[in-house]
Amino acid sequence: MITSLSPELSQPGPRPKRLERIRVVSRILARSCMGVSIVLAVALAAYWMVSTDEAILRDARLGGIAIRPIGWPVRLAGLAISAVPLACLIWGLLQARRCFESFAANRFFTPENSSRLRGLATAMLASAVLKPVVGAALSVVLSWQTYAQGKDLVINLSSDSLLALLFAGLVSVTAWVLAEANSIAEENAQFV
């Protein structure tokens, strides 16, 4: 039976400067994740509350002449629809925040951290996949009562979405690598 060792020789030697740098940057990034999550949520709500009809239609890639203004029910529906990918992204950012908090507390190779990174990758993937779907749904909702000619369906695939998919893949693989590093660190901890 292999028993866990006390930490004096089971951990690598001290690398104070690098560790301190990781701690400081991680603390900043943890706060940034929280800040960005709040800003994104507030900005989305503000966008649907205060943006002009023209700006909303232009952002939804809807051309033509609107015959009716965008009413509050449509704005609220737009907010609810566009909140779906944002909610995924915010969930991912909160996972990243917890991961950074863990790094700031000197906990690097833990199963929790790799699972949080996987959570971030999943959230990014979901957000990237949902983006064109949400864009299409928004175009239908916005054009429903606004346009005389009826409903418009706009499908928009941008390079941003493709890059986000690639980035999600990168984070996902990094999470697997971290899990592998975790098992190596565990094995290393069994050496005296």
Binding site: T3, L5, S6, E8, L9, F191, V192
Partner: protein, 71 residues
């Protein structure tokens, strides 16, 4: 595992206490105890070197290969 740690025997033969050896090697008594019981996955060369230096012995005196499986 067929590798047996004979640190206990060597300590008894040299009349050395675990505490003294642990202090010299730079590991805790708890870890030295785990090493004595063979409950570790491996021994670092520098740990082995310091144990050998203190006990004035060879690595082979501390470790034995004993194949318990029937041939």
């Amino acid at each position: 595992m067929p590798i047996r740690v004979r640190l206990n025997v060597m300590l008894a033969e040299r009349n050395v206490k675990s505490k003294e050896l642990a202090e010299y090697v730079g590991i805790t008594e708890a870890n030295l105890s785990l090493l004595k019981q063979g409950k570790v996955k491996g021994v670092r060369f520098d740990t082995l070197e310091r144990i050998c230096a203190y006990l004035k012995c060879q690595p082979g005196d501390l470790l034995r290969y004993e194949n318990d499986e029937p041939a």
